[in-house]
């Protein structure tokens, strides 16, 4: 029997994704003069909202997990929470894009692609099998290649799209090779099945190790961990900024979901082989990201490197690998989705009123756009981990997890993960604080007018959603952390 509930959120969203171009056509045909972008965005928001509601009701009713066709996909507390995160990101990205792409061609397709990419992320979230996971990843990746290249006449955008496509193809190839090796060893592609077969005593350890290295490398490109991170700043810089927000807040997090499933379920029994390696990669990733971010002068590149650093923080939860650590990792993913996505949306908003991407253009912004500057300050302080904002709380639980685990014999080294995280937080404060200083302390650059900027309302609304969430999660984290804890419990159930 096919239980449709297990894939209902995906189905809803996919339906809307298919219908959006038709809506665009109808508007173009019968309602000349109406903004196609706005109508399509509104239509897409309805779809995202419905899918969100469906996932939310599942979490709210605290339902037991549901399998789809014999267990290729499973809707449970874990996947539904991630669906909500991805849909939340899609919501504010679409809201901000309504005005952002108003001058571009092919607007309905833009929304369609965003929603298909989101469906892919949702499939990854609920996948219980390597094959469904891979299909989900590819759905998202291929849609994002097109989204990055959306402004095809923009040389920078086209260049970054090509780069993204080549790197994406390579990483998919690596992942697939690893998957095929795992299948050869385990005779199954389901995570749980692999988890039972692959142990420290199973034969062909070297093949398993190779498979581990290949899949981690392949997924490592997706989440941009060092040394697979080079593409991220270029692509984040070149892509249309609302798409960048989705890449950083959405599709990158999809990579983490895949890593969670692969390492914490599939290869959990051989964790002694990878926990130290992942720990070292985590430390290197956060350090490289933060140090490189300091010297950036383009705000999108700076935020890209900061994303790399944040990926290093999230990796801590993989290395520690306890249920508490996983809930901390989920918490960090949740807050990062709003603070980093929000920061990119702010950059996009300012771009519509001709404020450039150089950080010098942000000097004196507090006078020209008080609310946006306030929002950016909140995002920067939250990313730096200053209480009482969301980023502080998630870092707080994230850094506490290795300390908790270090009390266990054999895991004493994990305390250094927390120490490294803390040192990196201190480093990162420098470049976050610089943006705040530019906006609030410095005077605008010569030649720029000091008049108040007129910002598009829909984009300001998207920023407001992110600011609200960052403050709400910071001040009242209880329900969010409980949801993350339940998700982690369902994950390990």
């Amino acid at each position: 029997m096919i239980d449709i509930q297990a894939i209902r959120p995906e189905v809803i969203l996919a339906l809307f994704a298919i219908l959006v171009p038709a809506v665009g056509l109808l508007v173009a045909r019968f309602f000349k003069g109406t903004s196609i972008s706005k109508v399509c965005a509104a239509f897409s928001l309805v779809g995202v909202g419905l899918a969100f509601l469906d996932a939310f009701m599942f979490v709210y009713n605290n339902d037991a997990g549901v399998y789809f066709v014999g267990g290729l996909l499973k809707l449970d507390q874990f996947s539904s929470l991630f669906m909500m995160i991805f849909l939340g990101v899609a919501f504010y990205v679409i809201l901000a894009s309504a005005r952002f792409i108003q001058e571009d061609k092919h607007q309905p397709e833009f929304y369609s692609l965003i929603m298909i990419a989101t469906v892919g992320m949702m499939v990854v979230a609920s996948s219980t099998d390597l094959i469904t996971m891979f299909v989900g990843i590819e759905m998202t990746s291929i849609s994002s290649y097109a989204l990055v290249a959306f402004r095809k006449r923009d040389a920078k955008g086209a260049e970054s799209a090509v780069k993204y496509f080549i790197i994406g193809g390579l990483s998919s190839g690596l992942t697939l090779f690893g998957i095929s090796l795992l299948y050869g060893v385990a005779h199954t592609t389901s995570f749980a099945g692999i988890g039972q077969v692959v142990t420290m005593n199973s034969p062909m350890q070297s093949v398993i190790f190779l498979a581990l290295a290949l899949t981690v490398a392949g997924l490592g490109f997706k989440v941009a961990i060092v040394p697979f991170h080079m593409w991220a700043p270029d692509v984040y810089e070149g892509a249309p900024t609302t798409v960048t927000a989705m890449l950083a807040a959405g599709s990158k997090k999809m990579g983490f979901v895949a890593l969670f499933k692969l390492l914490l379920i599939g290869l959990f029994a051989i964790r002694a082989n990878w926990e130290m390696m992942i720990g070292i990669v985590a430390i290197v990733t956060m350090t490289v990201g933060n140090l490189a971010a300091i010297s950036q002068t383009n705000i999108k590149r700076m935020l890209a490197y900061s994303s790399i650093a944040q990926a290093g923080y999230i990796l801590i939860s993989v290395a520690v690998g306890t249920q508490y650590a996983l809930s901390a990792g989920i918490m960090q993913i949740m807050t990062h989705a709003f603070m980093k996505g929000g920061a990119f949306i702010i950059v996009a908003t300012l771009a519509t009123v001709a404020v450039g991407e150089s950080i010098n253009n942000y000097k004196g912004l507090a006078k020209r756009a008080p609310f946006i500057a306030f929002g950016m300050m909140i995002m920067m302080f939250s990313l730096a981990g200053i209480p009482p904002l969301a980023g502080f709380f998630s870092k707080f639980v994230l850094f506490s997890s290795p300390i908790q685990q270090s009390a266990v014999a054999g895991s004493e080294w994990m305390v250094w993960l927390a120490v490294a995280g803390i040192i990196n937080s201190a480093i990162s404060l420098y470049y976050y604080l610089r943006i705040v200083k530019y906006m609030y302390v410095d005077e605008p650059e010569e030649g720029t007018s000091t008049e108040k900027l007129k910002l598009p309302k829909s984009m300001v609304a998207a920023v407001a959603i992110c600011v609200f969430m960052v403050i709400l999660i910071g001040v009242w984290p209880d329900p969010f952390f409980n949801a993350a804890k339940q998700a982690a419990a369902a994950f390990f159930a």
Binding site: F396, V419, I422, A426, V441, N482
Partner: protein
Amino acid sequence: MLENVPVITLLILIPLIGAMIAFLLGKHPKASKIVALVFSAIPLAISVILLSEFSLNIGTFQYVESYSWISSLGISYTVGADGISIVMVFLTALLSFLAILFSWDVEERTHQYMGLMLVLEVGVMGVFTSMDYFLFYVFWEVVLIPMYFLIAVWGGPRRSYASIKFFIYTHIASLVMLLGILALYFEAESHLGYATFNMQAIASVSGQFGQLFQIVVFGALFFGFIVKMPMVPFHTWLPDAHVEAPTAGSVLLAGLLLKMGAYGIIRICLPTLPYAANQYQIVMIIIAIVSILYGAVMCLAQKDLKKMVAYSSISHMGIVMLGIATLGQLGITAAVFQMFAHGLITAVLFMICGIVGHHVGTRNMPRLGGLAAKMPYMAVFMMIGFMASLGLPGMVGFLAEFSVFTATFEAFGWLLLLPIISVALTAAYYIWAMQKTLFGPLTKEVDVEHIHDLTWFEAAPLVVLTGLIVLFGMLPGLIFDYITPSVKLLTAVVFGGA
């Protein structure tokens, strides 16, 4: 009268509301000043009522409020005040109010300035009343942001460097402290059987903590606190921050923020990690004495009046540390009294520095001289402030230092000779500074024609502060009565009533 009122929450909430109103009054700078004054006057009034209603002789926390906040991690909003806190709360309310009054002539971005002053008050008030580690840490960090902006926007020429140095330096210290707090949390959970960030609950199982664990965690927390105090060799952010900060910012920085570090050691390190406290005693003595002497010697070398006062703060906070290092009831009581005394005195000194810098145009002592003729009232207050700071009997500073030194002698005997050198040094640098600025022939290096004496909003805070300095110097019991029972309780629990 205050039985059913959430007083402590009001103390935190009222300045916060005031700050929000002030931030919104961008077009009405005058109104924002009045709002700030009113919303800092109310906590002052509440704290005075609180002092009068406070039950002496009990020593435990009073007016405790507790609400579950983040139940999934055992975090609660728990605030309350014991004798140590209540004195600090009064100091916070008093100095915030006076600093806002003193800033009456701020012209640039007035509403933001006033809002930030109030946010600062919220943070400091929260630190002194939190009974939950998470809450404590949140307030501890909240303090940084307004102080950063106060220095970065309204500061002197090198404000950009000084403000970022201040923020990052103290933020690193806080993060190290956070590691210690997290370790305490998990360790206590394994002994208590439930997860909590409540300070008293965690302290109640302190006897079961392992020795190595205590030493490591004490190190982390202690580092966080001594950077804030600041103690040599982690003091370098302080002179920079003070020299560049606006006057009222300096008053609050020296008067309140430094006290947070000492308060943290007394409130957290000693009762929670008593074994380690004994082990660290020698470290505390050394950094205390080094800070006292180094601060005093550095004062002798300064040309900038304000930098001299900044270094004198390091020296005087060293005396606080020395009192704590005795690990005895008298020493810690005296340390808290010294914190209070230094808060009052240093506020006067920084206000004087601000007035000299503002009215004369320079604080560089070699370029000053004979100011007593032009600014007689300022000269009077400067002398009172300097005398109080160097420990003239009859003023609050004398009693504080005297009792710390008595406790030191009781605990360590003739080791006292080392820190007591600083008394002579202190007298030397203050008297020299006075000679160079107030007396002698009137300086010719600056335009002395337009120098005028104190304005009303400068004089009023100075009158209040010097009045209190003399009052509490004559009647120290007024303050000791609050501190002693609480310290007695604290040392009884920790060191078996030393």
